[in-house]
């Protein structure tokens, strides 16, 4: 009765990555190995606290013997695999994916690392035509309450928000993909407003959005006013006060005011996910 189940033992495998022989645990993805080896690999739809959904293709790598490039985020490494992460083919493919996205979607409020990758791959979306000539998803932001802004002209359909709302974190299933082709978009059930949907305002979708399509109302308003200044913001990690779970909060502070709250994805208590009180209940600090 006192045994502790530890699962089946996992064997070690060896792969060659960018000419270097490295060891890994069986079951590790190629991306896991890249991260362990310090090989900077762009990702959009992948997050360490979500199951890979395999849609964005910016993390592709070349695997010897494979006709197509493979998504490193979800492809388990195999013993003897020979992987190139920085071949011409890989670089071209990553650049093109970013350019196609950037040509139809506003990417200017993406996370700092996304911007760095776009710079690194010399992304030039004007090759696809200028934005007022080609089809874009331009539309005004949806502002239906005092906490969330859904700015879908910045949405690249990476599905992270859907995953975080569903099985990977919140199990609320308030949002899903609706429509097909160019009409595909993230929607609540029957496209009702967010307060009328099943949404519980945990903000876990905001927490995983890579492009600023889902943002705090506070951040949106400050950006519109031109007062949002990420460079002067300080981030302090503390513990949420609203219950006994012990979620860690990262308080982003600008001019001695909290402007948004995130949570570290690598923390064991909630893997970066919060509830409405933890993510939005901080107004009393400055009232």
């Amino acid at each position: 009765m006192n045994e502790i189940p530890v699962g089946a033992p996992r064997s070690q495998i060896e792969v060659q990555i960018d000419g270097k022989q490295v060891k890994a645990v069986e079951g590790a993805t190629i991306l896991n190995i890249c991260q362990k080896e310090g090989i900077d690999t762009p990702t959009l739809c992948w997050a360490e606290n979500l199951t890979p959904v395999n849609v964005c293709r910016v993390c592709v790598v070349e695997v010897e013997g494979s006709r197509t490039l493979v998504p490193s985020c979800s492809r388990p490494a195999e013993d003897g695999m020979v992987i190139s992460t920085d071949s011409d083919r890989v670089r071209k493919s990553r650049k093109l994916v970013f350019e196609l996205l950037d040509s139809s979607v506003e990417m200017d409020r993406s996370t700092a690392e996304v911007k760095e990758w776009m710079e690194h791959y010399e992304v030039d979306s004007s090759r696809m035509g200028s934005k007022n000539e080609i089809a874009t998803v331009a539309q005004p932001p949806k502002i239906q309450d005092s906490l969330y802004v859904r700015d879908y002209e910045r949405c690249i359909l990476c599905y992270k928000c859907v995953e975080a709302c569903g099985e990977d974190a919140q199990h609320t299933f308030a949002i899903a993909t609706a429509g097909r082709g160019f009409d595909a978009h993230i929607s609540t059930e029957f496209d009702v407003s967010l307060p009328d949907s099943a949404c519980v305002y945990c903000g876990n979708c905001i927490g995983v959005c890579p492009t600023g399509a889902l943002v705090f109302k506070t951040e949106h308003d400050m950006r519109e006013e031109g007062t949002w200044d990420e460079e002067t913001q300080e981030v302090t990690t503390t513990v949420c006060s609203f219950c006994g779970v012990g979620c860690n909060l990262e308080l982003h502070v600008q001019d001695e005011k909290i402007v948004k709250v995130t949570s570290p994805a690598d923390h064991s208590v909630t893997s970066g996910h919060l509830c409405i009180k933890g993510r939005f209940g901080w107004q009393h600090v400055q009232s």
Binding site: P5, S146, L147, S241, C243, N248
Partner: protein, 496 residues
Amino acid sequence: MWVVDPRRTSSAKFADAWLGLNVGTDIALANGVAREIIHAGLVNEEFIENATEGYEEFKTHVEPWTLDVTSEVTGVPSEAIADLAHGYATAPTAQILWTLGITEHHTGVDNVLALSNLALLTGHVGRPGSGLVPLRGQNNVQGGGDMGALPNKLPGFQDVDDDNIRARFEKTWKAEFTGEHGLNLTEMFEAMGQDTLRAVWVIGENPADSEADVKHARAMLERLEILVVQDVFMTRTAQMADVVFPAALGWAESEGTATSSERRVQRIRAAVPPPGQAKQEIEIISEMAKRLGSTTWGNPTPQELWDELRTLSPMHGGMSWERLETEGGIQWPCPDEDHPGSLFLHGRLWERPISGRKAPFSCVEHRPPVDELTDEFPIRLTTGRVLDSFNTGVQSGKFDSPIRSGDALEISSEDAATLNIVDGETVRVSSRRGSILMRVKTDAELQVGLAFTTFHFPELVDINQLTSDATDSKSGTGEFKAAAIKIEKIESMANV
């Protein structure tokens, strides 16, 4: 996952099964589940034999709780009780998690003991993935108890009446104190009524809104010779105070630690400066100590206090400030710096032979709520919390939630029809202690005869005027979960 709750909560909707028991019948249900586990031959005989005591007596004690009797008392179908019993007993690992629905009864302590019996019957304790899990309602309510904010304990749950332990604290603190037990909250209010407690210093609590039978509590606070309140806001209690100490907010304006439900000690850090004249709580307490004549107190920093605690509380001994910074939290007990912390407690029950005392079964009796249902007060009111609010709303009331709810009295559609009232109507709600006006919200999922509301909006709805004055004789906790009320239609608002 089974959910046992009088209401079909959102957790119940996620669950594989929901057992909608009658309010205040938790012991009956646990005893019935225990009897079923015993009769189905699903007890863990090896564990009972080696790690527990009092099993034979317990077996006799629960014998009358047949599935039929249990079903009759709890209102839960027999098959559902049997299903829960078999599921729990045969699972490789299983946990029982609870919050205030178990403890805020006049039988609160016995309710917990009744659940503990089930873990002892099946061996679902002291090993990974199994256990008894009380979920805490604040980020540091566990830490408060750990630090000795209890009437009979010093930091690290050490007995204040043990002369040897007290001597160690007296040496470090350079002060002498008696081993006499203090008072719990309920006893404090009684002592206020008897004028044996005449001065009170409230730190970060709002009893003038949060106490059950709150009219009585307010009268007791009014009687005091002096009331000092230390808080971050002018709460209702602070408004009654003779002196208010404005304090820095713990989790965002102060350095220190908080200890979660799972005994994990984590660092809290100051992200913003406290406003106006608000001072750090440690500074307020230190300055008070000096004015009370202490010459040895000094001006300790949070880290200095933590380091002192490590020398006095063995279970915190290995948690250096540096480890707390780098390891993202450590679970006590952690006696030395090489100890990784403890994922679970009571593992000693699996040692053969076991060290220390065997775990006792408890023969606890079902006792219905004190505030009886009668023809005059036929509806059972239970209070609780909703997702986006926190306690008396002092903090959570400051953000504008799109899903805010909980100020209405929720009743079943059937009761609304019987009373000839409609959704949104304002009614008079009375108990044996008070009477208030409330808006009604009908809820098709509530059981007939049950009403629910929160206590998050005391300025809108002074619900604790109605809640029961009964308390648990062992813990002193009020019976917030079971008041008897009547609901009256208001024929004309002009007469209100």
